[in-house]
Every structure is written in C-alpha cells, then in structure tokens.
Symmetry: C2
Subunit: 443 residues, 2 copies
C-alpha cells in the first residue's frame, strides 16, 4: 500500500503530476479507491462526490497538457471540514438543521485552494457546529478510539491515506488534538492569518482554520496558499514575512533552536504516563531545551478561554438553539446555553487576560525560538462519543500563537502522541524553522 499514489505526500504528488509521471486523475482515483475501501470503518466523509472530484482532476490534467501556469498544489486532492463553504458540495456543519444546505459561493479558503490548483475531494465529518457532539468517525489506528474533534473527518482522512491534505478549524483544541490522536502533522497558524469568510463562525475571537498533512513541507505549502489577506474577514491581521515553504526547503539548519519545554495548567489534565513520555523526549534533545514553568496569570487562562468561548457560542448559536431545539442535539444545546448569562465585563476581562498572556509569552520569546509541550493529554481515548480534552490547545488558541504538532511519539498502547511546537505570534516562519529541526532530528 505504501507505494500507492494515495500514500504520497502532497509535495511529492504535485511534483509527480508536474513531471508527467502521473496524473491528477490517477491520484484522485487512488484516493477514491481508498475511501471506497475504508470509509465504512473510518466514516471520515460527509459529502463526497467521486464524479465531481474526477471532473476537477481531469480539468487539472487538461490545464497541464495545455501548458497553463499551474499552482503549487496542482492536481492534489484536499478535504475540507464541513463548516467551510463550497459552491459545488453541500456544507452542513454537522447539523440536521443545515442538511443539504448549498452555499451560493466558495469560502475564501476553498477559493484559495482551487487557485493553488487543489482538487476539492469532498467535505469531512465535523462534530455538530464544530463543538463536541461526535458524528461516528473512528481513529484510523484503532476503530474503537476517537480520532479527536471537532475536525474529526479531516484528521482521520489524512491519517488513513484517503487524501493528502485537509483543512480543519480550532476554537478550543480542534486542529491540534485530532492530529496528535491520529498521528499526523497539524498546524494552527497565528490568529488572523487565514480568512474565515464563508466559514461557520462560533467565536470570531477564537476561531482559526488549521491544516493537516503527512509532512511538514506539505503544511508549509498549504499554509502559503491560504495565508492571504482578505478584507472579508475583519480579524485578519498577520501575515508571515516569508513563505513557509522557503523555510522547509532551506538546506539543513546548522544551528539548533533555543527551546523551552513548557508545562503550565494544561498538565493537570495529562494522563499518568505523559510526564515520563515527554521528560524522556526532552532529555533526548539535550542542552538546547530548558524547562520553563508557566505560572502566575497562566493559571487563569483556561477559565478565561472558556468565558470567551461560551459567551461567543451563545452570541452566535443561542437564537438557533432557541428556535430549533428539536433539530439540535442536547449536548450541543447545553454547551451553547452555558454562555447565556455571562456578563459583558467578564468577557472583556477574559479578552484582556488573553492580551496579558500574549505579552508574557512575547517576553519568553526573547530568550527562546519556540516552545515545546504535549499536543494532547495522552493517546486517543477509547470510545467514539467523547472526542477528548482540549486543555493542551486552549492557551494557544486564546492567545492566537502559531502552533503545530509533529507525530513523533507513542503512548503505552502504541497510539500516536504529538509533540506540540509553539512559535512567536505573527512569526510563523520561526515556528517552522524550529519544527523542521525537531522533525529532522527524529528521522
């Protein structure tokens, strides 16, 4: 199977297509075959139309045959979390209420991927409204375990070799945690660097789009395609100074990054085996990493993130839950109603705490190039209802720092555990430089 086209990385597949060694149609056909073979076990896709995907692939091949200029993802398939609007496939946000909803136009994200040459293979399963109600996706490494959520289908489809790339989203921990559970690369860029126009918003203060792939280079290529300014998202603010794919294409770094191993309040949620797993990993890195405690105001971070998130959920979904109670799962309604009575001043104070955390972290980055911590509390839990604990992502979501996870470790049951690397806000290229060093070291 490892020699099958669907198992190539995106960059290898794109190079093979450009070189005429394969075609987009052949690549997409291999992915479709894999989906047909495995979907009844993995349940990664909610709207998937083989003929629509093959039509796009054939158009890519025709463009190449004509000698058209082609983008860096030309002919490569991508899965999109089903909260991301597409003009050619329904977008249902994991909700019965939106069953069959057909957006009038592509989201900014879908349009940018198409402009880079990608084939939109289909829409991947999301929990209801990108919250906690799971929709049956399984972990490709063990179908009795969750793939994580809310970007369940995006992570599982990439991990199961059904597609090279996928887009997810993170408001609490929904990009990085599924990547860790599924053993793939996941990347949440700096807040405000990928447009959310045409994406379901559950908290504009916290919502990030994020990326999945099976190599660091692929994250960089997809990131470059998506990190484009767009007046349609009022919170767009950051843009990397350099192309991320320039960083991953550089000759090997001669100088090791200066790394901080951070713990802080999330570690109260870690499984018993995790300190030993991480301490051993850190010890193997030697003198380039120092342990740094995140205390003080960091102890308030998880509560503040919950205040911002819950207030936003009620603001964005409260009316929907009140008007259509029978169409929305109880678990979702309970999450949404939790924000109804939050006071504006508490919300404002929580956003100010987030800024104070950013200032404190800015100070830390004067001495370190990147931070390292766990990407999740442990291995993917057994059972499909509970998608896992977001504590290890929430500080980085509320502060908007760029973070990615590398699939470098394993837990006691042989399930993957990710190493989370966090970079300075707005300087994603530095995150990639440190991550590349760690990734190469593990090879």
């Amino acid at each position: 199977m490892e020699n099958d086209l669907n198992c190539l990385t995106a960059s290898a597949a794109a190079a093979a297509i450009r070189a005429g060694e394969t075609s987009s149609e052949m690549l997409v056909s291999a992915c479709i075959a894999r989906i047909n073979d495995r979907e009844s076990t993995v349940h990664a896709w909610v709207n998937f139309n083989a003929e629509n995907a093959l039509t796009q692939a054939r158009e890519c091949d025709a463009a190449l045959a004509r000698g058209d200029d082609v983008g860096p993802l030309h002919g490569v398939p991508v899965g999109l979390k089903d909260i991301i609007d597409t003009a050619d496939l329904p977008t249902e946000s994991g909700s019965r209420l939106f069953a069959g909803r057909r957006p009038a136009q592509d989201s900014a994200c879908a349009a940018l991927l198409r402009a880079a040459g990608a084939v939109i293979l289909g829409k991947t399963v999301t929990t209801e409204f990108a919250l906690t109600q799971a929709r049956g996706t399984t972990n490709p490494h063990d179908p009795s375990r969750t793939p994580g959520g809310s970007s369940s289908g995006s992570a599982a489809a990439v991990a199961d070799f059904m597609v090279q790339l996928a887009v997810g989203s993170q408001t609490g921990g929904s990009v990085i945690r599924p990547a860790s559970f599924c053993g793939i690369y996941g990347y949440k860029p700096t807040y405000g660097s990928i447009s959310r126009r045409g994406v379901l918003i559950i908290s504009r203060y916290l919502d990030h789009l994020g990326l999945y792939s099976r190599s660091l280079e692929d994250l960089a290529i997809m990131g470059d395609a998506l990190m484009q300014r767009d007046a349609g998202d009022f919170d767009m603010r950051f843009h990397p100074e350099r192309q991320l794919s320039e960083i991953t294409a550089e000759p090997e770094a001669t100088e090791a990054p200066r790394l901080a191993y951070v713990k802080g309040p999330a570690w109260d949620h870690a499984e018993d085996h995790m300190p030993a797993v991480f301490d051993a990993y850190v010890a193997g890195l030697g003198g380039i990493i120092q342990e740094v405690e995140l205390g003080g105001i960091f102890d308030q971070a998880l509560d503040a993130q919950a205040t911002i998130m819950n207030a936003s959920l009620w603001a964005n979904l409260g009316e929907l839950c009140e008007q259509h109670p029978e169409e929305i799962e109880d678990e979702t309604k309970e999450r949404v109603i939790a924000g109804r009575d939050i006071r504006a001043a508490d919300f404002i104070h929580a956003t100010e705490l987030a800024d104070s955390l950013v200032r404190a972290l800015d100070g830390l980055f004067e001495n370190y190039d990147a931070l390292v911590t766990a990407a999740a509390p442990g291995e993917a839990p057994t059972g499909l209802d509970y998608t896992g604990n977001a504590a290890f992502q929430r500080i980085w979501t509320m502060t908007g720092l760029p973070t990615l996870t590398l699939p470098l470790l394993q837990g006691p049951n042989g399930m993957p555990i990710g190493v989370q690397v966090i970079g300075p806000k707005g300087r994603d290229e530095e995150l990639f430089r440190a991550a590349r060093w760690l990734d190469a070291l593990a090879e």
Copy 2:
C-alpha cells in the same frame, strides 16, 4: 493680540524658531502670559508648571544653538488632556482619587511629542475619567457656555490662544464636539493609529486619542508625529500610507473631491436651526456633493455604541466605583453602573454591528472620497454642567473611521459650528485631501 506669538499656528511658530526669528522661550513665555491673563475665566489647565515649561523651552533653544537635528514641532508648546501620563507632571484623570498621581514614565503620546521637539506646556482639564462630570472649564467664545467635553481644557486652551496644539481623547464624542463648540480644528484619526500606552483606558474598543489646533496643516504635522506603531497598544492596526503633512503641503488640488452629505440617526438630535445652516452650506458647494441617507442598520448604531461603551465602563471602572464610592461623583458612578448587567452576547452583537457599519461605509467610499455632516447638534449649550450631546460623533467612534472638524460655520448666536468631514477607514490621507479642499474653499 493677533500679532502675539501665542496666536501663531504651530507650523508658523516652528518655522520662526528654526529661522531664529523667535525662540521657544519667547513663544512659551507668550503662552504663559496668556494663561496668566485668562485662566481665571477659562479654567483650561489642571496641572500647569510655568518653570517646567520654560526649562523645556530653553533646552529646545540650546539644542538649536548647538545645531542639533530638530523635529517638526521643535520648541512648540502642547497641552495634554489629563488622562495622558507624563513623567514630569501629575496625571489625575479629573478624579479626586488620583489627585497628585505621578506616573513613573511618559505615555507613548507624550514621548512622541517630545521626540518631535514639542514642549509639554501642561495638563488640561478633563471631565472625571473622561466621562460627563464637568470640571468648570468655560467656552472661550462665551464663558456662560460649555466648551464641550470630555476634552474640555484641551479644546478651550487652543481656542483661547493659550497653546498652539493639544491632545484630547474620544470614546463617544469628546474630541470633535469640543472642537466644534470652541471653533477650532479637531481630528480623530482612524482607530488604532495612535498608541494609547500610558493613557487612561475607559473602553479599548472605542478610545481614540485626538488632536486640536488652529489650522489643518497643524493637525497634519501633529498627526504625523503621533501615528507611529507601538507594540504597547494591542489595538494598533492602521498607519497612513503617506505623511499627512505631505497632503497639506501639496500645491492646490485641481480636482474637487466627490462628497456625500450624510444625515442618519444623529440628526434626530440636531437643534432646529441646524438643517438650514447645513443645507445652505451644502448648497454652496454645488455639484460636488450629494445627499446620502444612512438608514437600515445605521438606525441601530447609537444603541450599539452605548452597549459597547457602557459595558466597557463597568469593566474598567466598576471596581473603582465600588471600592471608593465617596471619592467619585454620583453622575460618574451612575454612568459606570449602567453597564454592570449588560450580557456578553449583547456586547458581542454590538461589536459585530460596528463591523457591519464599517462594511456599509466601505461601500459608500467606493463612490465618494469623503462624507460631510455636522460636527455637533448645534452651538455650545449654555451652562457649564452639561458638556453637550455626542450623537454626531458616536457612529464614527464605534466604526473607527477618521474624522475631523473644520471651524467654518456659525449658529444664530454667533457661536461656532464645525463641518465634520469623515474619510475611509485607514486612509486618513484621503480625509485630509478632502478637508483641505473644503478648508481652502472657505478662505
């Protein structure tokens, strides 16, 4: 009196100092003499130290004598609203609670003005916490009338020829309204273009620093000095692409701007004579201006601005009011407590309405270079307790669009009335281009 040094504009004074025709010490002495003469009537200053100002002036003169490089405001005095921290003078925010408070360091604003060569003449009277409780400043045109607020002393001091330039702040309508009432030039730049580090924050979502002068050119020079990026203010986002003083120094424009005369919900608050005053002004402009109605979502704007402001006041000042009730005026406490029970979702919806208004206005600027409306509901009201109605500023404060007022009109009692000009968000240079054309036309 018109030939006195204190009556020069800032640009004329700076040029005379650079040319050796006068000195900073002579200029500052003339301002001090004017203050000594008039302060018992105007009450514009709260902390004013003649010796401290003269020391700075002599240092400016010495630097010039040494041949040092000098900034565009070298030797020119400036007044700062007493919510703006200065290391050499107390900053009391109009509050007994902060009587004698000595900040450890200059605000970003004070430091930038000093870097441009300005002499900090003193701190000007603000209402308590830049809210509504007035502190006795009178209108230089009629001491029985308010100068407006909350930047009462800054506007009155410039209008009364006590100082060339002053800085105020606007959360509702506190820069533009006093300028209109006092018959001077006032400018509130695009939100996020002047750092508020070291300034009392009552609503980070709405607070803007703003500028006063007696010429448009002076606003541009001071704006250029202050609109500098600063990581210390998390909401800094905009920076004009060109120096504003390049715009005001350009040869006369040959092409008239395309202007929209906008009314909208603020006009429900206008005095009876105002439609006639403005209709006559607009008729005089001829075909370059068209009336445009601001309806639809603009009808919700004033309520939404109040929601954002009141929620912020409680978040920022609620604890102070609860802990020190006897030190804070009842009127202030009543304003602050009004925000206590606002729900987070209502606050979030109000901020989203603000964004929708920006989008709607962005659309309007596709057809117009600038908008024109009244700067206040009418002439300055009689009495010193009530500083006037902010309805004509609140939409531009909540949307963060750049706005300035030109002292071009008079009301039935001979009191000044400003023409407010509003530019596209983040493009203050276009605002100045239109304002310059209107200002020149009126000469």
